[in-house]
């Protein structure tokens, strides 16, 4: 996960963080009114989050996190904003990690296989958001009962990226690559944890960790009647450790950079 820190030495990556954050906040606020039922609205802006991760890597993840915090600054900032920050960071970061953990990673969704790959990346991102946000809002802050949140979050934050994300990536991919704005055009391979043999194991840990955390919280609420407190914390918290270990076990393919560099040499 070292790219999360090494990216800050590149002015272009810092610019991408600021612009991605401002864009996400700016889209979240005016598009808050797409209601599916009274009081529950679809967050159209979340369609951008996996795309930000896939295009801009760690800068997209920081951008999504800061953007969500700024969105909260326009009226709803509170203790839950900390978990909103973390949840959105890993929403984009998990999508980026999943997308780049295998082969054929150019960020475009022009074939059914690539659309499928995007769907999987986006679902992993959504699961990350749900696991972290529900743990924070219910087990720590006790804002809402745990069992209420996952079904709502699947609708409000999970559907927009699934429906809108693939077409958006397809529309932007070649242009952003031409403008040299994707992260692998800006950063060096040495800035990343490169691909390891543990990628598949990491993927399994991420999936199992996030699902177990959510399942444990739902079980405590529905079956044991526990909505707050230490028991909920102790059941939905530890699987998140497995999730983070999984992310740390995954690396990016160095081939991605070699392709970009050879493309630049050809252009010269």
């Amino acid at each position: 996960m070292k790219e999360v820190f090494t990216m800050w030495k590149y002015p272009k990556m810092v610019s991408l963080v600021a612009l991605a954050a401002a864009l996400y906040a700016a889209v979240l606020i005016p598009f808050k009114s797409f209601q599916i039922m009274p009081g529950i609205d679809i967050r159209i802006g979340t369609a951008l989050v996996p795309a930000l991760g896939i295009f801009f890597g760690p800068a997209g993840a920081w951008g999504a996190a800061i953007g969500n915090l700024i969105g909260d600054f326009f009226g709803t900032v509170g203790i839950g904003s900390i978990f909103g920050f973390l949840g959105n960071f890993f929403f984009a970061y998990a999508a980026y990690k999943i997308w780049y953990s295998g082969k054929d990673n150019f960020p475009i969704t022009n074939t059914p296989a690539k659309v499928g790959k995007y769907m999987v990346s986006s679902l992993f991102g959504t699961l990350s958001l749900i696991a972290i946000l529900c743990f924070g809002l219910s087990a720590i802050v006790a804002s809402l009962p745990y069992k209420v949140l996952p079904p709502i979050l699947i609708f409000t934050n999970g559907i927009p990226p699934l429906v809108l994300g693939a077409p958006l990536i397809s529309l932007f991919a070649k242009r952003l690559d031409k403008w040299n704005l994707t992260f692998n055009n800006i950063m060096e391979p040495g800035d990343f944890t490169l691909k390891k043999k543990t990628n598949l194991l990491g993927l399994v840990f991420v999936l199992v960790g996030a699902l177990l955390s959510i399942a444990a919280g739902l079980y405590m609420g529905h079956v044991r009647g526990v909505d707050v407190g230490v028991k909920l914390l102790a059941s939905s918290g530890p699987p998140l450790l497995l999730y983070f270990i999984g992310l740390a076990l995954m690396g990016i393919d160095a081939e991605e950079f070699r392709k970009i560099q050879s493309k630049e040499e050809d252009a010269e």
Partner: protein, 262 residues
């Protein structure tokens, strides 16, 4: 739609060091996290905060989010009443514990939102918030990205609204059709907003590089020279008292009006 929250003024809150205001805000987040069963303490704290807003002429910032208060309160109370664990029946389908948790969650959210709006966002300019974060030890580059995004967000909201108006004037109707059809109609709104923003990246990075961003500077100078005064120390002391008091109250469950079902 709320685009700007800062209110110009010369109250004592405006004059406090941004670090003090960040610490005060965070200190008020502690009771909003810990005091789950002490409803009357939460009410007193909210009323004190609103009184502070009144004497510093910051009530308009609270008025801007009154609808948020209403929605947060209704969502919390209804969700807890319907889905919360229950034990002691009060009346019909209303049980004491979930009702208590609902009211408590609503009050804790109102306290946190009021604290951040009155103490920090209403009385502190964006660049002061960023300078305060840097002085508190947040890495400069992160604070810079945050403050730049905070400054750009209202401008980009304007851009997004222009895109919406332009596409609607061309006949885009986002309010008709099935759920998926309506959702897909947002692509012509998101795509121009995304590209209009990302086109600025090169200019933005060149601008910050021209101001020496890429150079490894040991200590950066700043236009804002922040210094803590005696008033700041008093409010930091009050903040520490709030944090310690909340921890003790929570540990001994003093003044609890209902029991948490754990």
């Amino acid at each position: 739609m709320v685009k700007y929250l800062y209110i110009y003024g010369d109250s004592f809150l405006h004059k406090l060091d941004p670090r003090t205001k960040i610490i005060m805000t965070l200190s008020l987040f502690v009771p909003s996290m810990l005091l789950k069963t002490q409803i009357h303490i939460l009410v007193i704290m909210i009323l004190l905060l609103w009184f502070l807003a009144a004497i510093t002429k910051l009530t308009p910032v609270l008025a801007k989010v009154r609808l948020v208060f209403l929605i947060v309160s209704l969502t919390s109370i209804v969700s807890w009443t319907i889905f919360g664990s229950r034990n002691e029946l009060l009346w019909w389908i209303i049980y004491k514990e979930p009702l208590g948790m609902g009211v408590s969650a609503a009050l804790r959210s109102i306290l946190a939102i009021s604290a951040s709006l009155v103490v920090l966002l209403g009385a502190t300019r964006n660049e002061e918030i960023a300078a305060g974060f840097v002085k508190l030890g947040i890495p400069y580059r992160g604070a810079f990205a945050f403050s730049s995004a905070l400054r750009m967000a209202p401008v980009l909201i304007g851009v997004v609204q222009t895109v919406i108006a332009a596409q609607k004037s061309r006949g885009l109707d986002v309010d008709s059709g099935s759920f998926l059809d309506r959702l897909r109609k947002y692509i012509p709104l998101l795509a121009p907003a995304f590209l209009l923003t990302m086109r600025q990246t090169d200019q933005f990075s060149q601008a910050i590089e021209s101001k020496g961003y890429g150079y490894p500077v040991v200590k950066r100078s700043s236009y804002l020279d922040l210094k803590l005064k005696s008033g700041d120390y008093l409010w930091i002391f009050i903040s520490i008292v709030i944090i310690v008091g909340s921890i003790i109250t929570n540990a001994y469950q003093c003044c609890a009006v209902f029991t948490l079902l754990e």
